[in-house]
Symmetry: C2
């Protein structure tokens, strides 16, 4: 299909992909704001529920490579960019770092299966998340214990060798 012919046609086929390329697609906006089935940064962000800054961020680090409108320099995000960003956001929800995602996309872009990489990386990140969870849990318990103990203690002014008796006595007790 010729992407430069028939705007009406374009919009029809575009509407057909409504579920893939964004939500609440308003033909009036599409007709007004873009040609060739592309959208600008703020619309792209809205469709995926993120800020324009997030879209610009992934563009800046070249995970997204939208074209540029020759006339005004505006970025033009295509359906491919939409799918790519949706993928990135999904991967972030699973604990992958942006660097991980770049590695995964490198495979996919070479038509190679990213799955072995994905499995390896999630094992790694899962371990880290579990360690993080244990640490946060220990911290929370320590904090709760402190609040509990402190509720029985008075305020005190600092002395020469004691800056805050609450903190220092708690630490001494708990052997931290």
């Amino acid at each position: 299909m010729d992407f430069l012919s028939g705007l009406e046609l374009m919009i029809d086929s575009y509407q057909g992909k409504e579920q893939i390329f964004g939500v609440n697609l308003n033909p009036a906006i599409v007709r007004l704001s873009c040609e060739e089935g592309c959208v600008k940064v703020i619309e792209m962000a809205r469709r995926l529920g993120v800020t324009a800054d997030t879209v610009r961020f992934y563009t800046r680090i070249k995970i997204l490579k939208p074209g540029k409108n020759k006339a005004n320099g505006y970025r033009e995000y295509s359906e491919k960019d939409y799918n790519r960003l949706r993928f990135v956001l999904s991967a972030r929800q699973l604990g992958f770092s942006v660097e991980d995602i770049q590695e995964i996309l490198n495979h996919a872009d070479k038509k190679k299966s990213p799955c072995p990489t994905v499995r390896r990386l999630i094992d790694q990140r899962l371990h880290e998340t579990e360690r993080q969870l244990r640490e946060t849990l220990k911290l929370r318990d320590r904090m709760q214990q402190a609040v509990l103990e402190w509720s029985q203690k008075p305020d005190k002014a600092p002395t020469g060798h004691m800056l805050c008796h609450l903190i220092e006595e708690f630490t001494a007790e708990e052997r931290l």
Copy 2:
């Protein structure tokens, strides 16, 4: 007591504070490396089990204000600096940020009780830590679930609209 007289006396009184001003205090090292009961950065770090970079960091942001040896410009950490850093490390273990600690120290330095501030701040930080804990827990569960489901799925090459079926199908299922 005159701090400039009698090094022998200094070291005696210093040894008497062994439990306060550091562990494994070796009089020979003290005698060789410092006058006036002060130590250099690496020794300070060793006594509190942190790196010299950490000691320099707190010096840089002016939480520690050690003197300077006029002759060579070396920093001289006193017992007061030791107590202060020990306090900072204790507070960090309780989830206070460095900025929190500066606020706490500001009160203490004016001889005012830091306790009300400490109580207010830990309530705040405890809430944040609990939120963090819930989020990390949810992430961990999501990741475990993904690993479980993926163990039943094959690797696949990317297609036009599917970069990695593992990640995208999981997200679609879980309605993320």
